[in-house]
Amino acid sequence: MTQIRRIPGTAIAAHAVLITYTIIALFPVFVILINSFKTRRAIFRDPLGLPTEETFSLIGYQTVFKQGDFFLYFQNSMIVTVVSLTLILLFGAMAAFALAEYRFKGNTLMGLYLALGIMIPIRIGTVAILEMMVSTGLVNTLVALILVYTAQGLPLAVFILSEFMKGVSDDLKNAGRIDGLSEYKIFFRLVLPLVRPAMATVAVFNMIPIWNDLWFPLILAPAEEVKTLTLGSQVFIGQFVTDWNAVLSALSMAILPVMVLYVIFSRQLIRGITSGAVK
């Protein structure tokens, strides 16, 4: 007890707030996880109870795996998310570099134009996007989703990254120019490694909404072979009957890849490699 008293009150308060928030945030995930391992009856009788010997069941996972296409959905989601993120980071960083590095007419205007997308929800344009996809024959392809998500992610990426690019030392870029590096090499070899923490931020911001999105997969790519995980899980939710075991199992598994990606990116967030580059 004496030990606790020595800790300043503010630290306790801060931790209390943080712990409360963590519990609130993790509670739904926790409920999904424990219920995915229970029988259907147990889910309804005691939704908050931990699986016991009697109530433990893998029936949900078995259903999901028997459904067969689940791995395909999984793969589709993975492809869409990873490719979209790659394109967002690549093009976002390139645009940001141009805006931050080069003086040209309409630079500020271009920056504003590119950032405008942050304020306008892309879903407003759904009908037009669908019409475009139909006329280009991209409906029911992963490309359609990748294009839409890339467009959706770019504004914020450009906005955040250009601020960070402005912070990269001019001297470093000029040293590269004097050593004969091309602008591309300066971008890829000197600047990108230095803005890696910002890139990770942008990746994390964009990853979750893309992975979880139901709207665009439902509208642009509802065909069986291009379904994403979120859309695929909907087969277990019927109008009248819902296979809760399967839904919860599918959702539990859907958490894993995002968590892996998040761990990868968040390590980049923490690592600062700029030290020593310039004073």
Binding site: D171, G276, K279
Partner: protein, 336 residues
């Protein structure tokens, strides 16, 4: 042969005229220092020479070639930056060798030149370290090494000592001077520090507001400044400018006297009261408030017993005084 020739170089940023009609010639093997207050355009001028900025008009000639449209890497220059600008992901060795590798030099040549430069700068034991693992002084030596390795026609230094602490600054200054002697290369050095300018330069170019105020050897500028700006910029403590305190100076004219040319004398022409004394051991600096309300710095050699509050009279030799008119230009016929 000339190492660098600038003819009527102008530079505009939008509507701001940053460099105004710069004409300058740097001879082979010469050490030229650009000096001036911040915002005078000295760094911009260096960047125009390096090719990092384009001149809005005029020609830049390095060696025998007009290089206005040549990219920085092909101008035969090397540059050392204030912030070192080392590549954080490369080792010391690779930092120095990158430029040569980009030129497509064979590996043996790169190795040889890098190790030669490392030896010259005492960097051999750090060859495999990354910049983050080096101290400020070592980093700056690597940056200098990177420029030596390229064997350029012209070295450009952009305030290379500004980030170093005082002791290290002195050492690195001596190293750069030695480097200039060993390589006998042409160098251009930008600084706002007049001590660096005075100690390193063969010739100093004083810049103000994008214009060349005066060019000459350090002693020429010190002994014979063209105007009040140059007179005040060089020398520490800086020159005293008096309008009223010396009898016989006409209205509108200013007399300039360096602190070390003033001495205490019973019958001195300037009289005032000591307001502050700085005892440096070797020198003693007095701040004197004259009867006419102007402040004069006096530099006395050795130690002096004068105390704050003492009433003193100051004298100077007529040869040591400079006269300036209202436009701050030097005038040669002393009015009195």
């Amino acid at each position: 042969m000339t190492a660098l020739k600038l003819e009527n170089v102008n530079k505009f940023f939008g509507s701001v005229h940053v460099l105004k009609d710069i004409n300058l010639t740097v001879e082979e093997g010469e050490f030229v220092v650009f000096v001036g207050p911040s915002g005078c355009g000295k760094s911009t001028l260096l960047r125009v020479i390096a090719g990092l900025e384009d001149a809005s008009s005029g020609t830049v000639t390095i060696g025998d070639d007009v290089v206005n449209t040549v990219p920085p890497a092909k101008r035969g220059i090397a540059m050392v930056f204030q912030s070192y600008a080392l590549y954080p992901h490369l080792t010391v060795k690779d930092n120095m060798g990158l430029g040569l590798k980009q030129e497509g030099q064979p590996r043996a040549v790169v190795e040889e030149r890098v190790s030669k430069a490392s030896k010259m700068l005492d960097l051999e034991e750090y060859a495999t370290r990354r910049p983050a693992e080096l101290s400020g002084g070592q980093r700056q030596r690597v940056a200098i090494g990177r420029s030596i390795v390229r064997d350029p026609k012209l070295f450009l230094f952009d305030e290379p000592l500004s980030n170093l602490d005082a002791a290290l600054r002195m050492n690195t200054r001596v190293e750069i001077a030695e480097l200039h002697r060993t390589l006998s290369a042409s160098m251009i050095y930008v600084t706002h520090d007049q001590i660096e300018a005075m100690t390193l330069a063969d010739r100093i170019v004083v810049l103000r507001d994008g214009r060349v105020e005066q060019v000459g050897t350090p002693m020429e500028l010190y002994n014979n400044p063209a105007n009040r700006f140059v007179a005040s910029f060089l020398g520490s403590p800086s020159m005293n400018f008096l309008e009223r305190s010396v009898p016989g100076v006409p209205d509108g004219q200013t007399i300039g006297i360096r602190p070390e040319h003033l001495r205490l004398a019973q019958s001195g022409r300037i009289s005032g009261r000591v307001t502050h004394v700085e005892r440096l051991g070797g020198d003693t600096n007095l701040l004197v408030n004259t009867d006419q309300g102007e402040t004069v710095t006096v530099r006395l050699f050795g130690q002096d017993p004068t105390e704050v509050g003492d009433v003193v009279r100051l004298e100077f030799a007529a040869d040591d005084a400079f006269y300036f008119n209202e436009a701050q230009e030097r005038i040669f016929e002393a009015a009195a």
